[in-house]
């Protein structure tokens, strides 16, 4: 018992200092839900979580608290979930994928032959949008009149300003209750108010049956998508989404030429030092064949000793060539580009992603990646060297950041564990050259004692 509880690091009181504790892991005290006002428009204050009891005790107080919490949860769950008349968005399921808009009767000569305009439905002045090519072949749900915040980051608009949703986007929205998908779809999506009544709403079960497995969407990928989406991230499919992506540029994937570590000669020795070095040059007795590597003579500086010790080659991520995603082995391949909520995101021109996520199912891929698989995955991401004022000062931070990085989402039967994998090159940070300055944020300076050595 002594080891069980006392070897745990004493965690500081403020939550910000302990990044590993995930609040979502705890069982919640649901009484705070009572304070959420579902109907009021005024922004409510964020409810505080209650204290946690670890054991049942015979007090009535505890029983009351428990039942109140349970009641609050049921109360919150019993809130009727409706499609509001104002925010209702209707979509149509298109089992055959993207259908170009119907050619209207009159086509303006200016418009391109394929991109017609539907002057009846579009209130804006007709303008041919050359983006129907951008609609993914996997898109299968059409929203004739998109409104609301969701379409800022989701869907692809075609020439007649209809938005086409990918299966995961449609599933996310229907699960959220923000979309009403109709089927069978009226011919040509004319979206007249009369025709809408002929179709029937798609149930959630039907949506799962229709969308799961469509266009390489797996349940694991969807778990990652919906989990991150609910947290406010914006996600788009990465080029590595399809397993059979065509190899575009072969020349990029030519044999990776990796430079061996540079074995510097003693360049720091003074002029006189080099002059006198012949007297007792340890190099003369040095032998990597049978040791000792550093030789038996007089050593002038520990730096020279360490330099001589460097006989093990190491991988240098900075000089490795970038690979095409097709070089990677399928589960270890970037499938999502993830953007923080704070990143300004434009659907038509997505910026550089904040995170690159690869989704792995533990039931299909039971083992950790081998070095080849992981190396290829990292080399398919762009170089992101540790730069910046703070990074330059702190070696530990540089090592933790690494030169390339990727997020592995390991899905084990619906439970997603995210791992950030970075290519850190210890060989690039010569510790022996360090003069003992600050290495990185000492995370536990204040309570020095309890940490384990």
């Amino acid at each position: 018992m002594a080891d069980a509880d006392e070897d745990v690091i004493q965690t500081p009181s403020n939550a910000a200092a302990q990044p590993e504790v995930d609040l979502s892991d705890e069982t919640q005290d649901f009484r705070f839900l009572n304070h959420l006002n579902f109907f009021a428009d005024a922004s409510p204050s964020i409810p505080r979580r209650g204290e946690k009891d670890f054991e049942p005790n015979p007090t009535e107080l505890q029983a009351d608290v428990l039942s109140a919490s349970r009641g609050a949860m049921h109360n919150a769950l019993s809130y009727p979930r409706l499609h509001g008349a104002k925010t209702r968005v209707v979509a149509f399921y298109s089992p055959d994928g993207y259908i170009p808009p119907v050619q209207p009767d009159r086509v303006t000569p200016k418009a391109s032959e394929e991109d017609g305009k539907s002057s009846e439905s579009a209130p804006k002045p007709p303008r041919p949008l050359p983006n129907s090519a951008r609609i993914s072949p996997d898109a299968c749900v059409c929203v004739p009149s998109p409104k609301g915040q969701f379409f800022k980051t989701m869907g692809q608009a075609d020439s007649s300003s209809r938005v086409w949703l990918l299966p995961e986007e449609a599933l996310y929205l229907i699960e959220r209750g923000s979309l009403d998908i109709r089927w069978p779809s009226p011919s040509g999506f004319a979206a007249g108010p009369g025709e809408e009544d002929l179709s029937i709403p798609m149930s959630l079960q039907a949506a799962y049956a229709c969308f799961m497995g469509r266009g390489d969407l797996t349940l694991e990928r969807y778990s990652v998508y919906t989990g991150l989406k609910r947290l406010g991230y914006a996600l788009i499919r990465a080029p590595g989404w399809c397993d059979d992506i065509e190899q575009q540029d072969v020349e990029a994937s030519n044999a990776s030429e990796i430079t061996p570590p540079k074995l510097h000669g003693p360049g720091l020795a003074g002029m006189l030092g080099s002059l006198f070095n012949w007297i007792h040059d340890p190099r003369s007795t040095a032998s990597t064949a049978s040791g000792p590597i550093i030789g038996t003579g007089i050593h002038r500086h520990y730096m020279d000793v360490y330099r001589k010790l460097a006989i093990i080659p190491w991988y240098d991520p900075a000089t490795a060539p970038e690979r095409h995603p097709s070089d990677t082995t399928p589960p270890f391949r970037v499938v999502f580009h993830v953007y923080k909520p704070s990143t300004p995101f434009k659907k038509s021109a997505p910026p550089t992603p904040d995170f690159r996520v690869s989704v792995v199912s533990t039931r299909d891929q039971t083992t950790m990646p081998t070095m080849t698989q992981l190396g290829a995955l990292l080399e398919s991401t762009p170089l992101d060297p540790p730069r910046g004022e703070k990074m330059d000062r702190m070696m530990y931070m540089r090592l933790r950041h690494g030169y390339r990085n990727v997020v592995l989402a390991v899905v084990d039967q619906g439970v997603v564990s995210y791992l950030r994998v970075a290519d850190s090159a210890f060989g690039k940070e010569k510790l022996y050259e360090n003069k003992g300055g600050p290495q990185g944020p000492k995370r536990n300076r204040a309570n020095y004692k309890p940490r384990k050595r």
Binding site: E6, D53, T59, P292, H301, P313, M371, S417, L431
Partner: protein, 492 residues
């Protein structure tokens, strides 16, 4: 001590003192908030003790000052002294113990040197630094001061007591509530029971219960302890004034708190952290001044091979050395040692005639060991945190390990995928389950270490292993830093 080494000390000193000052400045305001802690005994001057990062003598060239021709003379002099009487590189000796498959160092001077310069090995009866003799002397009252093991034990006892105190206070609070509820039930026996339940308003439950079920933090427990101690002291003073007979009565009156049996037992533990006191008679029977050191330094095979092959600072014999006796057998050569260690990296040890395979566990672990040592890290076994290695900056007495390393072989060379048999073999060797990775990762997060997954690329079998340097030059190390990503916290 020579001038050169003094210069080295001086160089080492400057940045470290700065760091210490910073620490002092940082801990200043924090210590105000907390109750004053008992002053810690001064730490030994680790900077002085561990001034050399490796057990290798380094002789600095005295600096040449251009406008001072005398400095030139000192340089020439230093070279002349080396020319006339070259300083000898200290070579320590040890022996290989087949039973434990490790290297034992029994010579007192070698033990100290290997520990102080580069933190090699561990004491066979200690946590890391060989401190058994100091502890034993202290136990016999010959020596005072604290070893790191004792500090840890003291800390654990203290925290354990605080936790018991907290549990006791929680229990008290529960009893109070129960009493209050019983009283409420009795007084309101006429009114229906469910009204009592409703006396706590539904909407304000959070606020009410937040106040009622307020947790007792360790800090509070500490405060309560201090208060109790003061009360006890007052009580004792009172008792001293009173006659002896009254004493028992008043103390039983004064303490209304009921202790749980565990706490009660705790109270009567001896204050000394080393509760394993030998009976006096046994202690007396020893000659208290002089007793042999039963502890030896134990080097891992990687450490020993590094000292022998890379630094040439160690000689390894097959049998234990007798003091004063001149060794009849010659020390094991580096290549023979490599053979031996490779065979002993299997359990049970392989036959001596077996040839070295490129993926023998020792070859892989030594590659990683040498790699990190050559970069200046103090690399020690990570078995206490379930990893292969821990990386310390300068050494375990200076700072906590920042990185924990797990080693995985990699067979990416085309040789390993030539036949189906080799493919199966390497697949099995490389396989690590996700659960295992998650387990290791969570432990490292809990002990605030960064997890480094270190892959070692295994070359195809070599024709000969005569040139050790060439053999290890074919391996390649690649490090990946793995950290749990919490999407909740990276949103900004």
């Amino acid at each position: 001590m020579t001038i050169d080494s003094l210069a080295w000390v001086f160089r080492m000193d400057t940045p470290v003192t700065n760091m210490d000052k910073k620490v002092a400045a940082k801990s200043g305001p924090a210590s105000d908030a907390r109750p004053p802690r008992a002053p810690r005994p001064p730490r030994p001057n680790f900077r002085q003790i561990h001034q050399f990062p490796l057990p290798v003598n380094v002789h600095h060239v005295p600096p040449v000052i251009p406008h001072n021709p005398l400095s030139l003379i000192s340089v020439v002099l230093s070279y002349l002294t080396f020319l006339i009487s070259p300083p000898r590189q200290e070579v320590y000796s040890a022996y290989f113990d087949k039973a434990t498959s490790s290297i034992h160092v029994t010579d007192e001077r070698s033990i100290n040197a290997l520990w102080q310069m580069g933190f090699f090995g561990k004491g066979s009866l200690s946590r890391s630094e060989p401190s058994w003799l100091a502890r034993e002397k202290k136990r016999r009252g010959l020596h005072d001061g604290k070893t790191s093991e004792e500090i840890t034990r003291l800390r654990r006892t203290e925290r354990r007591e605080l936790k018991l105190e907290r549990a006791r206070m929680e229990k008290l609070a529960i009893e109070e509530t129960l009493k209050a509820e019983a009283a409420a039930r009795q007084s309101g026996a006429s009114e229906p029971l469910d009204q009592v339940a409703q006396s706590i308003p539904r909407d304000d439950t959070t606020n009410v219960t937040a106040a009622a079920t307020e947790k007792f933090s360790l800090k509070k427990a500490k405060e309560a302890r201090a208060l109790e101690a003061r009360q006890a002291r007052e009580l004792a003073a009172q008792n001293a004034a009173l006659a002896g007979q009254n004493q028992i009565e008043s103390s039983s009156n004064g303490k209304s708190v009921r202790f749980s049996p565990v706490v009660r037992k705790k109270e009567f533990l001896p204050t000394s952290p080393s509760s394993l006191q030998l009976p006096d008679s046994v202690v007396d029977s020893f000659d208290s001044d002089d007793f042999p050191n039963e502890e030896h330094l134990q080097l891992s095979n990687e450490e020993a091979f590094f000292l022998v092959y890379s630094l040439g600072a160690l000689q390894i014999y097959d049998a234990p050395l007798k003091s004063g006796e001149i060794q009849s057998t010659s020390p094991t050569t580096a290549s023979a040692l490599l053979q031996q260690f490779c065979h002993h990296s299997f359990q049970p040890a392989r036959d001596a005639s077996a040839s070295i395979q490129p993926d023998d566990p020792f070859m892989i672990s030594y590659t990683v060991y040498h790699h990190f040592r050559s970069l200046g890290w103090v690399i020690r076994s990570g078995v206490k945190f379930g990893t292969d290695y821990l990386l310390y900056n300068r050494g375990p007495v200076f700072s906590h390990a920042e990185f924990a390393v797990i080693v995985i072989p990699s067979y990416s060379h085309p040789y390993w995928s030539e036949t189906e048999e080799r493919k199966n073999y390497t697949a099995e060797k490389q396989a690590r389950s996700w659960w295992w990775l998650h387990c290791v990762n969570r432990v490292q997060a809990q002990v605030l270490k960064s997890l480094v997954v270190c892959y070692v690329e295994v070359p195809p079998p070599a024709a000969s292993v005569d040139d050790i340097g060439a053999v290890f030059g074919q391996y390649k190390v690649r490090e990946f830093l793995v950290k749990r990503w919490t999407p909740n916290r990276t949103r900004d």
